[in-house]
């Protein structure tokens, strides 16, 4: 059992990486496995600095491959374990993430996106959206929360552990270098004070009871001999996934009810969109925001409803349409026209969105 540091509501002025370490502690996380990569390092730094007070565990591994797999080991041993990564680290950690997906391991990972492809920048991007949702040689049986600031980081990091352990799908907090490195005020709280109970962990290996007396030995595998054998397993996963999606999918709308121009954005870009929408409304343009919070699974029904109400869509991302691609598939059949504002690996500002929307209006929608 670890010591929780946040016992009452505490307003703090922190970087996002610090927030994530506190959130993991508040979620009673017991072990972090990690490997250095910018811009997520301070999650580890903060976690390590707090160790004497929390009594939790930490292992600095030799690479992200090991960080991913040893996190799996910790989870199989029954610990609420997690890891964090970014960019090229997220790429090589897909090996472990795909195993977690196949074996329904409650893997929790914070991804602080940086520019890509390759080493690119250590600063910021939304270019790991597709990778985090669908990386690995599989179907993307994953749950991905895309956060838009420090309160989200705290709330959803806590939630990620419960989602993972309840539904047994790998669960991600997808943020970015801005959120990791920026400082803003945040309210930390004890989850219990918000009625949140942590889902108990289970030991998959060395569970209670004696082998041969109380239980059989556990034989966990991710290899299957027959095609049909595999499909049977994956079909059952799909059923679980679809059922889970109804409970887990989250979204946020801002002035979307009467919006003629609906901005669709996730993560920190959705926050810029809010600034833009306020400005556009002042100018008499009816703009609104639809922000998927879970970008995998997407909440399809509210998405289609919001899109149906609008006259024109604007997809904006710090990537070349990675979210748009996922959304377009889900709104297939609707005829609302759309425009795009994609800045690969660069922050989208409120001004960018205002100008784009004004142009759309000028061109006559």
């Amino acid at each position: 059992m670890v010591n929780k540091l946040i016992k009452e509501d505490t307003k703090m002025f922190l970087t996002g990486n610090e927030v994530l370490a506190y959130a993991a502690n508040s979620a009673e996380a017991e072990f972090m496995y990690g490997y250095p990569i910018t811009p997520q390092n301070e999650i580890m730094h903060t976690w390590c600095k707090l160790l004497p007070k929390t009594g939790a565990g930490f292992l600095q591994t030799e690479d992200e491959i090991s960080a991913g797999f040893s996190t799996i080991g910790g989870i199989l041993a029954g610990k609420r374990a997690f890891t964090a990564t970014a960019g090229p680290g997220n790429v090589i950690m897909q090996d472990a993430q795909s195993m977690a997906e196949m074996m329904r391991i409650p893997f929790v990972c914070a991804v602080m996106q940086r520019g890509g492809p390759s080493t690119a920048t250590v600063i910021y991007a939304q270019q790991e959206t597709r990778l985090t949702c669908y990386g690995g040689n599989g179907e993307g049986f994953r749950i991905v929360y895309s956060t838009a600031g420090h309160q989200d980081l705290y709330d959803y990091m806590i939630k990620a552990f419960n989602t993972a352990w309840k539904y047994k799908f790998p669960t991600y907090v997808l943020a970015d270098g801005y959120q990791g490195k920026m400082r803003e005020p945040v309210m930390l709280y004890d989850p219990a004070s918000r009625g949140i109970t942590m889902v108990p962990t289970e030991k998959a290996l060395l569970a209670d009871g004696e082998i041969g007396v109380d239980r059989k030995s556990a034989h966990m595998r991710n290899t299957y001999n027959m095609e049909e054998e595999l499909m049977e397993v994956l079909d059952s996963y799909q059923v679980d996934y679809d059922k889970m999606a109804e409970d887990v999918a989250e979204w946020e709308e801002y002035k979307a009810d009467d919006a003629e121009i609906l901005v669709i954005a996730h993560g920190i870009v959705a926050r810029s969109a809010r600034t833009a929408i306020d400005e556009l409304r002042e100018k008499g343009i009816k703009a609104g925001l639809y922000r998927p919070i879970t970008i995998r699974p997407l909440a399809v029904k509210p998405l289609r409803e919001a899109v149906s109400r609008a006259k024109h869509l604007l997809f904006t991302e710090s990537a070349n349409g990675q979210l748009a691609q996922m959304v377009l598939e889900k709104i297939y059949g609707l005829t609302t026209p759309y425009s795009t504002l994609f800045k690969m690996g660069v922050g989208v500002t409120g001004d960018d969105i205002v100008q784009k929307v004004e142009n759309i209006v000028k061109e006559g929608v």
Binding site: F13, T121, T275, T349, D351
Partner: protein, 187 residues
């Protein structure tokens, strides 16, 4: 909605991020909404270092912005890098004793100060960035001197207690920075 957008840019090692931290800490302690993004390159040292700070009365939306209200440029490279954040409503401050050129952007006002020279000749090279903090305080008028002093105490209190003359030196630098802007405004 009152929101002040500040861009602070200089060479790595000039202490840009340190004063940005003190500034936003002061804002936080004064119960303002604040948001600070350090912009950093691959290397930990060297290169242009930029801090994007916002101080506002209401919840802050966009973390990054296209144009700043006040842009402080502390080197030639910072001028090159940051003219993109300037528009007609911006106030630009640059250090004439570090930069070899003058910003050429169209804006509300360009203020040249010689903080580096003053620091070296009259105070100490170490408080150059605190002079700049004073400049910022006077140029933005969103925080009180006491807010900044409180935040300096949080960041540097231990050093000050060990060497009380440091506190005086830093206060002097702060006031010097404020007066630099006040003088320019008077001209």
């Amino acid at each position: 909605m009152a929101r002040t957008k500040i861009v602070l840019a200089g060479e790595g090692g000039q202490g840009v991020q340190s004063i940005a931290k003190i500034l936003v800490e002061a804002g936080y302690e004064a119960n303002k909404e604040v948001l600070y993004i350090p912009n950093f390159g691959v290397e930990q040292r060297g290169g242009v270092s930029i801090a994007f700070c916002q101080i506002a009365d209401e919840r802050i939306g966009e973390p990054r912005y296209s144009k700043g209200d006040i842009i402080i440029m502390l080197s030639d490279r910072a001028i090159d890098r940051c003219e993109t954040y300037v528009d007609k409503n911006s106030t630009v401050v640059y250090d004439t004793s570090v930069c070899t050129k003058k910003p050429t952007c169209e804006c509300k006002e360009i203020i040249g100060i010689d903080a580096n020279k003053i620091a070296n000749e009259q105070l100490s090279a170490r408080v150059f960035n605190i002079i700049i903090l004073g400049v910022l305080l006077e140029a933005t008028h969103v925080l009180e001197l006491s807010d900044i002093k409180n935040a300096m105490e949080l960041a540097l209190g231990k050093k000050f207690d060990a060497k009380p003359e440091l506190r005086e030196l830093n206060y002097k630098a702060l006031e010097m920075g404020m007066s630099l802007v006040a003088q320019k405004a008077g001209v």
